[in-house]
Subunit: 403 residues, 2 copies
C-alpha cells in the first residue's frame, strides 16, 4: 500500500503484445492497493527508425530537432499503454515529459533533470488513475523539449520516485536481476538478492549494464528503494539499497569484465607540474574516454603514465599523442586486453582481498598488465584470451557460486 | 515582403524526398524576403499506421489517448523539415502545437482553436528563422494535447495566418487549384483563377475537397488571403477571397457532385408542432448526417418529409425510423442516387439559373428526384448512372469550359 514507480524499457514494450503484457504487470501492482506511476521508453526499434529518417536528411541533425523527433517514440508507447490499461478496465492517463512536470537543463540530447513539478501526477493518482509518463524526456525553462541521453528512462523513473517519495521504484528489464557475474560466461553465476548502490555503480560502470549509472547515483542520493526485475518472467529481482540496510555485506559481491580494452604507455614524460592535466585534458577534448590511469616515476624528473581506453579509440588516441613525441622517451601501446574486476562493499574492511585476486590470477597463469583499486573494487587488465577463465576462477575462488 | 504562412499536407511530406522538396519551396519564399511560417501534417500513411497500432489494442481507444498518439505524426514531420532546411543552410525551428501557442477547447479529436499566443513564433521570425508548426494539434487550458479533427492542418494554417496578420496563406496540396468541376470526369474542366469564400464553402461541402470548410470559414471571418496550389508542380494556384474583391463574378463558377447518396421519404407524418425537430434530432443523436431536406403537405394535418443521406447510412437510418411506423402512412427509400450541384456567387442576382439547370438536365433525359437551393447553389438529386453525364452537360451549358 504505497506509491510504486515501475519502469519498462524499449524491449518490454517492443510489440503490441508486450505492451499488453506490461499492462497486466501494472494492474497486478494496482490491484494490491498501490498508487502506480509507470515510466516507459520508446518501442523497441522505433528510435532507430526515427534516427534512420533523420540521417536520410542530414548526417549532422541539430540536437534540438533530434530531441523533437525522438521524443515522439515514448509518446507513442505511453498512449498505447494507456489504451491497453483502459481496455482491460483500468483508469489510466498518459503524460509527456512536459505534462508530467519533468524540468531539465536547457541543453539537448543529454539534459539533466533539475526539478519535477509533480502536481498533475499527484492529482491523477488521487483520482485513482494509473499514471503513465514518457521516459527519457523533459522540458527546459524556455519550453524546449529535451532528452536525458542514454539510460534516460531509468533516470526519469528514479527522479519521479524521488519527487513522489515513492515506496518502491521497480526497473523492469529483459534480465531478471543483477548477477554475481555474466551468466553467459559462468553458468554458475547467481542472481544477487541485494546489492548496494555503490556496488551497483561499479558493476554498471564495469559493463554489467542493467541500470544506468546516473539513475543509480540519483537513487542513492535521494534514498530511492530500487528493484531490478524481469518483465518477461515472474521471479524476484535484485534489490538495490544502502549498504547499511543490507542483511549481510559480502566481501566480494560480483565479478565484472570489459572485453575491448587497450593500454597506452607514455614513458619518460617530463614531470612538469601540469604534465598529467595537460595530457588528459587533451584526450578529453578529443572525446577519448580514459578509464584506468597508473603513474610511476621514471628516473629523475620523468614519469611513466599508463592508461586504458576502449580498443576502438586506440588509433585516434595514438594520433593525438604524436604531439608528445619529443617530450617523452617512448609511446607504446598494447591492444586485445580485457579488464576483470571484483566488486564488493565489504572489501574496504577486509585487507588482503586484492592480494587474493592477484594470487588467483597468478595460480591460473594469467598475466596482469595493470591494476587499479578503489574502496569497493579491484580491477586488473589481462590479455583478452585469459579474461573468461579469469572471471570463472575469481567467481569460484570468492565462492560466488554458493548461496 | 511580408509574412507568408505555407501549409503542406500529408502527401506533400509523404517521403523524405518530398520533405526535401518542401524545403526547397519554403526557401524560395524566404529568399524573396518574406518571413515564413510553415504548417505541416503527418507524413503520408503515418497516421494510418498509428491508428492501426491503437486498433490492435482496442476497438474503442479513448479520444484523449488517441490525440496523444496521433499528434506524434506531425511532430515527426516538423522536426524532419527543420533538419532538411538546416541542411541546405537555412535557420529553422520547429514547434509542436503547444509550443506554438495554439490554444483549443478542452475536447479531444475535434477541438476548436480558441486563441493563438504567437509570441514565440513572432520572436523566432524576428531572429530570421523559418518557423515550422505542427498542424492539426493544440493544447487545452488544462495542458492536454488536443487535435482539431479532419482538415485540421488547414485550420491551423488559417488560424496562424490570422493571428500573425500574415499577408498570404498558401495551402499546398496534391492538386494545383480549384477546378470548375472534377477533371477526372470532365477533361475540359478549367482551373479557376479565383473563387469566393462562399463558393469555396459550397464546393468543399459538395465533395470537391481541396480545403476543409472550417478553414475556409475562418479565412472568411478573419479576412485571410488564401491561395490553393500544388506542391508537386510549379503553377499558379487558385486565389480564395471575398467576393467583392474579385475581378468578375461569374453566374456559375463550378459544378460539384457527390456519388453516394440515398433518399428516404416519410410519407403522411402527423403534422405536430415538433414533428420535424423530433425526427431530425433523433437522427442526429444516432450520428446520421442528413444533407438535403424537403417537406410538403400531404392532405390534412399530415406532411411528407424527404431527406438525403450518405448511402452507407441507409440501413442504420431505416432501422431508426422503425419507431415512426404507425405515426406515418409509409416510409420509402431509394438508393444509388447522386447529388449534382452548380455553385456560383453570381447566382443570387441572376434569376433563372435554377430553371436553366433543370432544363439542361431535362434535355438530357435525366430525372430529378429532389431539389434544394441556396443563394449561391442549386443541387439536384439524380440517379447515380446519370450523374457524370449531368455534370458534363451542366459544365458545357454554363460555359465553364471557356476561359
Amino acid at each position: 500500500m504505497g506509491i510504486v514507480v515501475q519502469k519498462f524499457g524499449g524491449t518490454s514494450v517492443g510489440t503490441i503484445d508486450r505492451i499488453k503484457n506490461v499492462a497486466k504487470i501494472v494492474t497486478k501492482t494496482k490491484e494490491q492497493g498501490n498508487q502506480v506511476v509507470v515510466v516507459v521508453s520508446a518501442m523497441g526499434d522505433s528510435t532507430d527508425d526515427l534516427l534512420d529518417m533523420a540521417h536520410q536528411i542530414t548526417s549532422t541533425p541539430s540536437s534540438r530537432e533530434l530531441d523533437m523527433l525522438l521524443t515522439t517514440g515514448e509518446q507513442v508507447s505511453i498512449s498505447l499503454l494507456a489504451m491497453a490499461l483502459q481496455e482491460i478496465g483500468f483508469s489510466a492517463i498518459s503524460f509527456t515529459g512536459w505534462q508530467a512536470g519533468v524540468k531539465t537543463e536547457s541543453v539537448h540530447s543529454k539534459a539533466r533533470i533539475t526539478d519535477i513539478s509533480s502536481e498533475r501526477i499527484v492529482q491523477e493518482l488521487k483520482n485513482d488513475k494509473i499514471v503513465i509518463v514518457a521516459g527519457f524526456q523533459g522540458v527546459s525553462e524556455e519550453g524546449e523539449i529535451t532528452t536525458l541521453g542514454r539510460g534516460g528512462s531509468d533516470t526519469s523513473a528514479v527522479a519521479l520516485a524521488a519527487a513522489l517519495k515513492a515506496d518502491l521504484c521497480e526497473i523492469y528489464t529483459d534480465v531478471d536481476g543483477v548477477y554475481t557475474t555474466d551468466p553467459r560466461i559462468e553458468p554458475k553465476a547467481k542472481k544477487l538478492k541485494e546489492v548496494s548502490f555503490d556496488e551497483m555503480l561499479e558493476l554498471a560502470n564495469l559493463g554489467a549494464v542493467v541500470l544506468h549509472p546516473r539513475a543509480v547515483e540519483n537513487a542513492k542520493k535521494f534514498g530511492v528503494h530500487l528493484v531490478v526485475r524481469s518483465s518477461l518472467v515472474q521471479v524476484e529481482g535484485t534489490v538495490i539499497k544502502e549498504e547499511h540496510g543490507m542483511e549481510h555485506v559480502k566481501v566480494v559481491t560480483g565479478v565484472a569484465y570489459d572485453m575491448d580494452v587497450a593500454r597506452v604507455q607514455v614513458i619518460g614524460l617530463e614531470n612538469k607540474i601540469n604534465a598529467l592535466s595537460d595530457l588528459f585534458s587533451t584526450l578529453a577534448k578529443e572525446k577519448v574516454n580514459v578509464d584506468m590511469i597508473v603513474t610511476s616515476d621514471y628516473g629523475e624528473d620523468k614519469i611513466n603514465v599508463s592508461f586504458s581506453i576502449t580498443s576502438s579509440d586506440l588509433q585516434h588516441t595514438l594520433a593525438i599523442l604524436e604531439r608528445y613525441v619529443g617530450s617523452c622517451t617512448m609511446i607504446s601501446h598494447e591492444d586485445h586486453l580485457a579488464k576483470v574486476s571484483i566488486v564488493g562493499a565489504g572489501m574496504i574492511s577486509n585487507p588482503g582481498v586484492a592480494a587474493k585476486m592477484f594470487e588467483v590470477l597468478s595460480n591460473a597463469d594469467i598475466p596482469i598488465k595493470m591494476v587499479t583499486t578503489s574502496e569497493i573494487k579491484v580491477s586488473c587488465l589481462v590479455p583478452k584470451e585469459y579474461a573468461i577463465s579469469g572471471v570463472q576462477e575469481l567467481h569460484r575462488s570468492f565462492e560466488l557460486d554458493h548461496e
